[in-house]
Symmetry: C2
Subunit: 311 residues, 2 copies
Amino acid sequence: MEHTLGAEPTHSVWDRTMEPRLRIAPGDVVHMECVDASGGQVGPGSTVEGFLGIDRTRIHALTGPVWVDGAEPGDVLQVDVLKVAHKGWAWSSVISGLGFLDARFTEPYLFQWKLDRNASLSMAPAVVPLRPFCGVMGVAPAEPGAHRTRPPGYFGGNMDVRELSEGATLYLPVSNAGALFSAGDAHAAQGDGEVCINGMECPADVSLRFSLHKQRTLRGPMIEAAARVGEDGAAWIVVESGEDAFKTAQTATSRLIDLLVAEWGFSDVHAYILLSVAMRLRLSQVVNRPMTTVSAGIAKSILPGRRLFSR
Amino acid sequence: MEHTLGAEPTHSVWDRTMEPRLRIAPGDVVHMECVDASGGQVGPGSTVEGFLGIDRTRIHALTGPVWVDGAEPGDVLQVDVLKVAHKGWAWSSVISGLGFLDARFTEPYLFQWKLDRNASLSMAPAVVPLRPFCGVMGVAPAEPGAHRTRPPGYFGGNMDVRELSEGATLYLPVSNAGALFSAGDAHAAQGDGEVCINGMECPADVSLRFSLHKQRTLRGPMIEAAARVGEDGAAWIVVESGEDAFKTAQTATSRLIDLLVAEWGFSDVHAYILLSVAMRLRLSQVVNRPMTTVSAGIAKSILPGRRLFSR
C-alpha cells in the first residue's frame, strides 16, 4: 500500500512519546514531503542577514514519525530509498563557531545553489554532481525524553552519510513499538565530512519502502549502497558514530568483521585480513558535534549474491 | 631515457646522507624491482612460526635512493606510476600488539594469497580485486639522521594510500639535493585503513617516470588518481599524516581548500562549501603508529581540464 505524508507539522527532537503522524504496515511505501533543514525559514531569496535571524531550534524540521505496525524493540527496520527528488534550489552556509574548520572560517556566509536535474553549475567552473539523500533518517531512541537531532547514534538520525541516495537500503535497530521513523535534512549533494556544516540543503520529495526483520542482531545503522555512475560501486556499509574519530573507526571496522563472520561465514581473522585488503573507510560527517560518523564498507562485487537478514 | 634498478641492496631507513644507487635526469623512466616488505624473508611456503622469527628491522626493504639531477629543496618531484605488476603471490599477517584492532586480534597469523591477473580467489567466497601499488613512496626527509620507515610524513613514505596504483601521479616536496626517492612495500591490494597491519604484501615490478617542478609550494604529498573500473573516478587528492585522526583530517581539508584557491581561483569560502558538498574523506591508513594518514580528494569530473603546476 502507498501513503502520502506532508511535511507539516515538522518536528525537531527525537522523542519516543511523540504521536505518530502515519500508521503503515510492513511492505508499504510512503511518499514523504520534506522541507529543507531550516524548516522553510531559508529560501532562494534569503540573505545572510536573514539567515542569521532564523530560529535554529527548528532544525532539522523532520517529517514523521511513521508508525510501522508490528515493529518491536529488537527488530530491524529496513528502509529502501526509492526516490529523493530535489526541487531546483538549495543553500549552504558558514556559521561562526560551527564546521570542521571553524578556526579558519569565522565569517557567516550564505550560498545559493541552482540545481539542474543531475548537477549544479552555480559554483563555476565546478560541475557538482547531485545525488540527493536525507541527512537524517532514524527511529526514536530508547532513552526517554526529548533529544536534539544534531548528534547521530545507534538509532540512525543525523548521520549525513552520502551513500543513502536513491537505490540504497538502510537497516536500523528498532527501540520502540512502531519504530517511529522520521526523515529530513535533505541534501541535493554532500561530500564526505560535510565540512562547512551543510550539504546542499534543500526541500525534497522522498519515497521510502519499509520492511521488518523480526528480532535480529544489529548494533547500529547499516547500509546497502547502490552503484553510482562515475563513483563507487555498490557496497555493504556499517555506520558508526562516536566522539573519538579513531575509536569510532575501530568500532565500525569491528562491526563489519562481525557482519562478514555472521553472514558470509568467514573466520574472525580472515574477515579482518579481508577488510585490510578491501575495506572503504570514510569520515562521513565530522561536524555533528560531539559525534563523528564513520562508514566502513566493502564492495558488493567482492561478496556477491547475498541478501542481509534473508534467513 | 629508461633505467633499470634491481632491488638489492634494499634499505630500511630514511637518511639524507644515503648514497644514491641510480642517477637520472628529469623525464627519465626507472623500472624498479621491489622485494616484498619483509625483504624476501617471507615467501609462498612460509609458516606463521617462521614469520615470527624474521628480522623486522629489515622492513620495508625499499628500492633506492634514486637521485634526480637538478632537484633541490623547494622543488616538487612528480612521480607518474606507469606500472605496478605483482608476481602471483602475496601474504598478509596478524601480529600481536599491532593493527587497528589489536585488542581483538591477539594471535599471530599468516595468510597466503595466490594472485590471478586482476583478482585473488584465495579467500573464497570473496573475489578480491587487485590494484597493485607501492605502500611506500617517498623522498629523503630534511631532518638529519636515520629515521625508521614506519611513520609517513610530509616527505611521503609509508602512506599506504591505495589510490597510488597504475595511472596515478604522486607529487612530493623535495627536501634534499637530488630528491633521493625510494619505493617499496608493494601491495597487490589494500583497503582504506590497512587495518590488520598489512595489505597483500608482494614483490613487484614497478615503472615510474620522474619530473621536476622548480620551486613550487607543496606542504605535503598530493595525488592525481586515475579512474578505476567499478570504483572511484579520477580525483585530486591531498594526503596528510598526523598523530590525531580528526586534526589530520582538518589539515588535509584545509590543504585541499588551498589547492582549489590557488589552482582554480575559488574564494576561500567557496572552496570550503564546494568541499562540503563534494569531498571524499578517507582514512587511508590507521596502523602506521603514531601516524594516521587521511586522504582528502575531489573528483576530476567536478574540476575538469587542469594540470597541476602547469604555469
